[in-house]
């Protein structure tokens, strides 16, 4: 594989909760720009407490009313405000999909939707809480930027991207302490980063699954398979020419995501390859097209659906 793309090595473990890093950054910009407004559908976060205390006029718990939150956020944006809307991913994208389309996408308004609990974050809460189709449906909307950061540095950068965007942004935000992949000076303008090179295949992943891709790559290297890892943290828009040039010399691609197999990361990679006649073998590893009514935590759900490291390695090993 040619050495194209940014090769970023893990630097240091910040030991920061990715969601706290995110809202600390929102707080920082809100403290210096009173036009930044946080709206939530009754979803808390430790680092949001400071908003309630210090920036009262910039924080609204709008109750469990997602349609209204998006329309009001759009109205606030029309009035010159820069709203960040925060809630559980499924509710914040599906209950109010039409408001996102008509009020934010059609009018191209700078509202940032922050969805907590991507994928199986709320594993044992069942399918109503599984954000496994949000990327697929939101990807259809013009003007919308979709971001899926994998570490605290990227999530902080996403706040800035939402803050400076001229149109709407959707950010899927993880929770917990995740290994840091990027150094503080990394520019996230490309939309993706190749964080590991590999001679045999390339795993394209996003969000929390990037960490799993790195583990899978470690395991594959033990059995003599060199797997690179590319973090596609911006799922829309994808700047196709630069992504395609980073695929020079790649003969096999695995997409790895915690979304439904329908319409997510694997689909978008397949579309790009097909549109540009790039005949690279592609294996999409994602969640099956069904609702999971077996309950467990996120790790259990991953094992159950074959998204655990061993399961993924098995699929790649068996992929002829």
């Amino acid at each position: 594989m040619m050495e194209i793309g940014v090769d970023v090595k893990p630097t240091h473990d910040l030991n920061v909760d990715i969601r706290d890093a995110f809202f600390d950054e929102v707080y920082r910009i809100a403290a210096s720009d009173r036009n930044v407004i946080v709206l939530t559908d009754d979803q808390g976060a430790f680092s949001l407490e400071r908003f309630k205390n210090d920036l009262q006029g910039q924080y609204f718990n709008m109750g469990i009313a997602e349609q209204n939150i998006i329309s009001v956020a759009a109205g606030l944006a029309l009035g010159g405000k820069i709203p960040f809307v925060y809630g559980i991913s499924t509710f914040m994208t599906m209950r109010c999909f039409e408001q996102i389309r008509d009020d934010l996408s059609c009018m191209n308004l700078p509202v940032t939707i922050v969805g907590s609990g991507p994928g199986y974050s709320y594993g044992s809460d069942g399918p109503t809480h599984h954000a496994t189709q949000d990327v697929a449906i939101l990807r259809t909307l013009p003007h919308l930027t979709i971001l899926n950061p994998a570490d605290a540095v990227a999530s902080t950068a996403c706040v800035q991207m939402g803050y400076k965007a001229v149109g709407p942004t959707y950010i899927r935000i993880e929770r917990g302490v995740l290994p840091v992949l990027y150094d503080d000076h990394h520019s996230f303008s490309a939309g993706f980063a190749q964080i590991r090179m590999g001679r045999d295949l390339l795993i394209i992943s996003t969000g929390i699954m990037v960490h799993k891709a790195l583990e899978v790559s470690d395991r594959l290297s033990e059995i003599g398979i060199g797997a690179g890892v590319l973090d596609l943290y911006r799922l829309k828009p994808v700047y196709e020419p630069s992504l395609l040039s980073s695929l020079q010399g790649v003969e096999r691609i695995v997409t790895l995501e915690e979304n439904s197999i329908v319409g997510g990361l694997g689909s978008l990679v397949a579309e790009i390859l097909a549109d540009h006649k790039r005949m690279i073998a592609l294996k999409r590893i994602a969640l099956p097209d069904r609702h999971c009514y077996e309950y467990g935590n996120r790790d259990w759900q991953h094992s159950y659906e074959g998204l655990d490291v061993a399961g993924i390695v098995r699929v790649i090993e068996g992929w002829k």
Partner: protein, 273 residues
Amino acid sequence: MDIETLKRTARWVRHEVFEMIISAGKGHMGGSFSCVEILLALYHGGILRVDPRNLRLEERDRFILSKGHSAEALYAVLADFGFFPISELATYGKGGSRLGGHVDNKIPGIEVSTGSLGHGLGLGVGLALSAKMDRRDYMTVVLLGDGECYEGSVWEAALFAAHQELSNLVAIIDRNQQITLNYTEECIRLDPLDEKWRAFGWDVAVVNGHAFEELFRALENIRSRRSPRPLVIIASTVKGKGVSFMEGQLQWHHNIPKGKKLEIARKELLVGE
């Protein structure tokens, strides 16, 4: 503009709406006809502070046509008010026209794109909230349909607006008693609609939506109200107003008269004008 001139302009607007829709072969005549006086009171009656020569004026009032399918009526009013040439009305619904069946904010004078019901009040609440935060004195006025009040999102917005004490927000409901297929009170009762809004914490006025005097009485003090509550004006109207066989009849939500009916309608509107 005096009341007689307003009445004359209302007749002109209805005729324009009629010819636009006939020419395009598509549109919403009934609901456009029911809100003509409301729109004229707002614009020509001097209630809204807007200036066609300065579209981005910071302190301009924000009007939202939440019942976006009454686009044709608003187009005629805006054109007559000077936002774009009256001649452009003839392009309505035709290839490449910027005037479509629902309003969008690329059209001069239109603040907010609408079309799907139940969005406009929330959008207006956001605008009113931002004005309140910044202590700006513009008003936000939202025109809803009564059938639109079936949308749950309307009541989400109503709850929030009252809690935030958005006295700079006015909702007007075009209470023409009809939806596409039925009368509201036969489909799902809305009455007592005034009590519902009152229960949600709004000030309520009920007026005849075709009587300019009554509309002005309800609208002229919207800037100087002492109440902390948002205001809703329930304007009783007649769907299809202005054409005898359309008034209050069910088939004219988006049907278009043909043949003899077309001629009768045109004649009535022209005589009126």
